[in-house]
């Protein structure tokens, strides 16, 4: 281990256990409390206005919803938490909008800060990035709610609309190149494989069952990454060559 590595390790480990314990403690408290407060409108409105809840129809709808969204939730938990680290994970799963905002934002910040996932530095950077992003999205939504009638002509402008509705594809293009530079030996074959699979199974199925395909590709990609890492083709060993 060289001096630089020793310093980095010391910086990362300093108070690390205490820090992580606190992150998990407060993360859990905030998460549970946020889940409870999310039910306030439902409970409050039913009680204040004396609205009877039709549990039969509500649970029927919920079941349909769960079949779609709980798979997505499970995939997001498995795939995003190792990338974001525990602190940012607690935060983004409460503040929402992961795919279209928080995850790309955290990835960009981690890249800029040269922070390796799993370290305290990465956790700090990811929290700062996703926290800032959360504040912006909440403030923009408040402004939008208050000034919706003034903003309506701009947001629904037919010329600008294709730009607004294609923000996620624009983010995907950016991330493709960013990671293409960082991990080309993993990204290129995986992306080509993704395109081939999409062509073989058909776009409708690939798009409709994207959660399942995401899980499969994440596992496959992790295994391929591990294989290359063991062979010394990527990671610190490859850099030394």
């Amino acid at each position: 281990m060289n001096t630089n590595e020793v310093n980095t390790a010391a910086a990362g480990a300093s108070g690390s256990d205490e820090y992580i314990t606190k992150i998990h403690k407060y993360g859990r408290i905030f998460t549970i409390a946020a889940i409870i407060t999310m039910f306030f409108p439902f409970i409050g409105i039913s009680l204040i206005y004396g609205i009877k809840i039709d549990w039969g129809l509500t649970l029927q709808g919920l079941l349909n919803c769960i079949m779609v969204f709980w798979v997505i939730g499970c995939v997001e938990f498995v795939t995003y938490t190792p990338i974001l680290g525990p602190g940012a994970s607690y935060l983004v799963f409460i503040t929402g909008n992961l795919t279209n905002m928080k995850v790309p934002c955290a990835l960009t910040a981690l890249d800029l800060a040269d922070a390796e996932s799993g370290t305290d530095k990465a956790d700090v950077v990811a929290i700062l990035a996703t926290g800032a992003s959360s504040i912006v999205s909440v403030v923009v939504c408040i402004v939008g709610m208050v000034a919706i009638s003034a903003l309506m002509p701009v947001l629904s402008n037919p010329v600008l609309a294709p730009g607004f509705s294609n923000i996620v594809p624009a983010i995907v293009g950016c991330l493709l190149v960013m990671w293409g530079f960082k991990l080309p030996k993993v990204l290129v074959p995986m992306t080509i494989l993704g395109v081939i699979v999409c062509e073989v199974v058909g776009f409708t199925l690939f798009n409709g069952k994207s959660s399942y395909f995401t899980l499969a590709f994440v596992i496959l990609s992790a295994l391929w990454g591990y294989f290359l890492f063991k062979k010394g083709k990527i990671g610190p060993a490859a850099k030394k060559k």
Partner: protein, 234 residues
């Protein structure tokens, strides 16, 4: 709609929103302190916060459009809550429609107060799985990952990077092969080209400050390409 736009509704929705905002601020303060402790420069951390804020403005506009669409059907405040806490602009409309169908309605204008309350419950509970998993399993999952990472130096970066490449392998064909949305395809291509150019400029000029905003620049170029493609197709 009078219930959905009532003062009670505003207060009941404002509580979780304020709570999420407080959580973000608390975690940021906590991370800032830790950053100082492990030797991160204040300027560097300020740069991360500033670039993240700037980056988030454009995607927030997309969320605003979702908000606008949902407000027409569910009133001002509940969509505001959903898009500020836990929810996602991508899934909320879908969840609201599932709820509407469960109550046997085709249009939101037909919705009764019972259906409105039911839809609120469905939208709230339908997307709760990830936060629940977080509260229950994240600690042990994180412990397991850290244990695996500690055995091999540099493996964490490889594994998380590879996992993201796996996600990308699905995202790219979803957008690049969606021939029904040619502006979307143009957005992917042009934002990718712009990002490559930004990385090149950053490397040549060795400007870290430029790097802070390269993703925002590339994203806006991709959006402009989508607008241009749409205009040219007409």
């Amino acid at each position: 709609m009078s219930i959905a736009n009532s003062g009670y509704m505003f207060v009941l929705c404002a509580i979780p929103v304020a709570f999420a905002l407080a959580m973000a601020i608390y975690f940021m303060k906590f991370a800032w302190k830790k950053g100082v402790q492990i030797g991160l420069k204040k300027e560097e951390m300020k740069g991360i916060v500033a670039s993240s804020m700037i980056f988030s403005i454009v995607p927030s506009i997309a969320v605003l459009i979702m908000l606008m669409a949902l407000m027409v059907n569910l009133g001002k405040f509940f969509p505001w809550l959903r898009l500020s806490v836990i929810g996602s602009g991508v899934y909320e409309t879908m969840a609201a429609n599932i709820g509407l169908q469960a109550f046997g309605f085709e249009k939101f204008a037909q919705m009764t107060p019972t259906a409105f309350v039911g839809i609120m419950f469905i939208m709230t509970t339908g997307y709760l799985f990830a936060p629940i998993l977080n509260a229950v399993l994240l600690k042990s999952y994180d412990k397991g990952l850290k244990k695996a990472f500690s055995k091999q130096a540099g493996f964490s970066a490889v594994l998380t990077g590879a996992m993201f490449c796996g996600i990308n392998a699905v995202w790219v064909p979803q957008r690049l092969l969606n021939f029904k949305n040619v502006p979307g395809i143009m957005a992917v291509i042009f934002s990718a080209l712009a990002m490559a150019l930004c990385i090149f400029i950053e490397k040549v000029t060795k400007s870290k400050k430029f790097g802070l905003f390269s993703m925002s620049i590339a994203m806006i170029i991709g959006m402009i390409a989508a607008i241009a493609a749409n205009v040219m197709m007409k």
